[in-house]
């Protein structure tokens, strides 16, 4: 009933899959979502992270659990299976639109940052080259992307750890006090922001058919959330401990500002380039994964012979969408990310997949009952 993926799809290991997820979530989360959380939770952002990690564990486990029940099907295939060909395809198309929106927004936020540092360079140049590279890698296939991330991620993690070590002496843990001064509501609001970050991982349900052992994903997903929690704990508390709540909240890129503040032995300083490298790579990984999800979704939806057939048209679409966001200032983009985008992402990332899984579950039960306990 569902739209079947082609049998000759590129496969990658679960390790590559989780590395891709880490590369997807970490740099962008460090630069953007942490700052958004500061707006609401302030110095209690680490508690928001803790709460969202608990919710993230539940969310990731159930996402992977239900996806591993039908490992050959992507999210679009499952939506068709749950809601029938016509309505399922409409939902599938909505997912593609969501991935393309998220991709454009990621590129937009990234180019806005670059434009602050390079004010004379037209933003479309950054967009063009990023999209050009993304399209090239995504067109080459999901395996190429995973291998690229496999090379880039250890470098990113090593640089991130180096930054944490170099800035350690500036941290004052007392800045994290008092805890929950204004009650739990701001912390909860902050958790929603981090939860949005976890909800975006729904794009990886498009890639589950590529994994070698999808049955192991639910358990491995729990370790993934644990790793994400520890990888976010330092960057979430760091700017607060260094700049205090008010200053960290009022800077646009607090984690980047933290990197800029590094000074050791009077000559190790001005490490802005590290921050720019982390973000360029992070933006590339994140946008590429969204583009890959959308390209595979298009190929599946329109039963194309090749998975990469629609890479070029959707890349042009993302380019146009990004240019249409030109009037969005960083503040406006942040506001959108923290408000409407959170709602949209939680709907597409948590509620809708939950609904799809529930309908598929009911259908299975119903069919099993109809055929005397024998599953069809």
């Amino acid at each position: 009933m569902g739209v079947k993926m082609k049998s000759s799809i590129q496969k990658f290991s679960n390790l590559q899959f989780f590395m891709m997820m880490l590369g997807f979530i970490t740099p962008f989360g460090h630069f953007i979502f942490i700052r958004l959380t500061y707006v609401y939770a302030g110095r209690n952002a680490w508690i928001s992270l803790f709460c969202s990690a608990i919710l993230g564990v539940i969310f990731i486990y159930f996402q992977f659990k239900s996806a591993s029940q039908s490992p050959d099907q992507s999210l679009i295939g499952e939506s068709v299976q749950a809601f029938g060909t016509w309505f399922g395809r409409v939902i599938g198309f909505m997912y593609i639109c969501f991935f393309l929106l998220a991709c454009s927004l990621s590129i937009h936020v990234f180019t806005q940052f670059l434009n602050l540092l390079f004010p004379l360079t037209p933003s479309f140049i950054f967009v063009f080259f990023l999209l050009f590279t993304m399209a090239y890698v995504v067109h080459a296939g999901s395996e190429t992307l995973t291998r690229t991330i496999q090379v880039a991620l250890p470098v990113l993690m090593a640089l991130g750890s180096l930054v944490s070590i170099l800035i350690m002496k500036e941290r004052d843990w007392k800045q994290l006090l008092p805890i929950m001064e204004n009650g739990f509501f701001p912390v909860w609001h902050g958790s929603i922001i981090f939860l949005t970050m976890f909800a975006e991982l729904v794009v990886f349900r498009m890639l589950i058919p590529h994994t070698n052992t999808p049955k192991s994903l639910p358990k491995q997903g729990l370790f993934f959330v644990l790793i994400v929690f520890f990888m976010f704990l330092g960057p979430t508390t760091g700017p607060i401990m260094i700049f205090g709540e008010n200053l960290a909240r009022s800077t646009l890129y607090p984690t980047f500002e933290e990197i800029r503040y590094i000074q050791l032995f009077d000559f190790i300083e001005r490490l802005d380039v590290l921050g720019i490298f982390l973000w360029v790579t992070g933006a590339f990984i994140r946008s590429s994964v969204f583009l890959l999800g959308a390209a595979e979704g298009m190929a599946e939806l329109f039963k194309a012979n090749k998975n990469n057939l629609y890479v070029l048209p959707i890349t042009f679409f993302v380019f146009a969408l990004e240019l249409s966001l030109k009037s969005y200032t960083p503040e406006k983009t942040y506001h959108f990310l923290a408000s409407s985008y959170s709602v949209i992402t939680i709907f597409f990332g948590i509620l809708l997949p939950l609904m799809i899984d529930m309908v598929i579950g009911f259908r299975h039960k119903w069919k099993s009952g109809w055929n005397g306990g024998k599953e069809v």
Binding site: L116, L117, F118, P119, L120, T121, P122, I125, F128, F129, F132, K174, L177, P178, E181, I242, F243, G244, N246, L247, S250, E257, R260, Y261, Q263, D266, E269, R270, F302, A304, N305, K306, L309, Y310, L312, P313
Partner: protein
């Protein structure tokens, strides 16, 4: 659509890609923001002074690279390695733009080390100038901030400093030596946005050899909100640094009762722990401070080999330290009424609910806050000699009188 896309895949793709790569390799070789280093005017320090008609005078000190160092690293003797340009305007960046009109190179502020605020401007309030030094992407929070005591920032920037190529480097090295207060833009903004009052190091011009003027790090400027309220002297500043728990290189000196001469010691290690306690409904600050010291000078006839003598001297050092800290605290509370120590922040962290009530009247409450001080000093080193030098053995005292 599919047929068209497959045709594109098969034939046209590689040609279009090739043309694109060629075009963009030519058009985008080097980004728009590229500037050669010899087109940049590297700003080392900025000074801001109050001018007439509510305007401000912005002075910038720039490096002259060709005058910096010769090829073998020695100092060039052809002239100064810096020069100062100033202009007056209503805002920092507007005035900087006007300064730019006088310069053949582009003003580049990313290497600015020092921001000097003139005394008059500090008295009028520093809030209006702060934003300009944070908002611009070239600005850095590592920039040190000092107040020009009894002078304009421009004068300080123009003063020479014989030990360094540029006076800015001299100020930076003085601040790095940890003999006085060190505040950068980050610390200043943190204090401004929290419940703490601002305190900044001061630099003043003194007479050098002949008619030349040099400068020295002279203490601290205490602010009430964003306006200069007064100055703390050298010693008081060190005590304030001690209370704030910041790094400090200083000496302690005591007079032994009924004995001639003094005993001095270097601070090897120190720590300060500040706690807020609510006693009978009133906030009391409890400050515990401890230090490890090393004896650097003994002008008395005391023998420092005896553990009991050492213990007595430790008590005297602790008492002296307590007195000094107490006097400075009293001065800050009574004369300046500015919470530069950070009591408010400690109360906020310990009693966040009570703080909401206290915060509104903190200016009135701060001078009334009772402080309980406890000091503990341990002598860890007595130097290379334990017996006083050149004093006959008969005159050496084994214990305190």
């Amino acid at each position: 659509v599919e047929i068209w896309l497959e045709w594109w895949e098969r034939s046209l793709k590689r040609w279009v890609l090739l043309i694109f790569i060629c075009i963009f390799s030519i058009l985008t070789a080097g980004c728009w923001d590229r500037i050669e280093i010899n087109d940049l005017a590297l700003i080392m320090a900025t000074g801001v002074d109050a001018a007439s008609n509510n305007k401000m005078k912005v002075s910038i000190q720039m490096a002259i690279p060709s005058q910096g160092e010769s090829q073998n690293g020695s100092m060039a003797k052809t002239g100064k390695s810096y020069f100062v340009v100033a202009d007056t305007g209503s805002d920092i960046w507007g005035t900087t733009s006007r300064i730019q009109e006088k310069l053949s190179r582009r003003v580049f502020t990313a290497h600015r080390r020092i921001l000097i605020i003139g005394e008059k401007l500090a008295s009028q309030g520093i809030q209006p100038i702060l934003d300009a030094f944070v908002r611009h992407p070239e600005s850095r929070l590592r920039t040190y901030v000092v107040v020009a005591k009894g002078a304009t920032a421009e004068k300080i920037l123009k003063a020479s400093y014989p030990l360094e190529k540029a006076p800015t480097e001299g100020i930076r090295e003085l601040l790095h030596s940890q003999i006085g207060l060190v505040v950068d833009l980050k610390d200043l903004l943190m204090d401004r946005s929290s419940n703490q009052s601002i305190v900044l190091p001061t630099i003043e011009i003194t007479n050098g050899k002949g008619s030349s003027k040099v400068f020295r790090l002279s203490g601290a400027a205490v602010f009430h909100h964003d306006k200069l309220a007064g100055y703390l002297g050298d010693h008081q500043t060190r005590e304030l640094i001690w209370l704030r728990g910041k790094p400090l290189k200083a000496e302690l000196s005591i007079k032994i009762p009924k004995l001639k001469g003094r005993i001095s010691a270097d601070i090897l290690k120190k720590s300060t722990n500040m706690k807020a306690r609510k006693i009978h409904g009133r906030m009391v600050m409890k400050i515990d401070t401890s230090a490890n010291i090393g004896i650097s000078e003994n002008q008395t006839k005391l023998d420092l080999e005896d553990p009991e003598t050492i213990h007595s001297i430790e008590r005297l050092f602790a008492k002296e330290l307590k007195n000094k800290l107490h006097t400075t605290l009293k001065e800050i509370q009574q004369n300046y009424q500015s919470d530069v120590v950070g009591f408010g922040e400690v109360i906020h962290r310990t009693y966040p609910k009570d703080w909401k009530g206290i915060k509104q009247n903190w200016d009135m409450e701060f001078p009334q806050i009772k402080v309980v001080l406890h000091t503990d000093v341990k002598i860890k080193r007595t130097g290379m000699t334990s017996l006083p030098i050149n004093i006959p053995e008969k005159q050496i005292r084994k214990s305190l009188p």
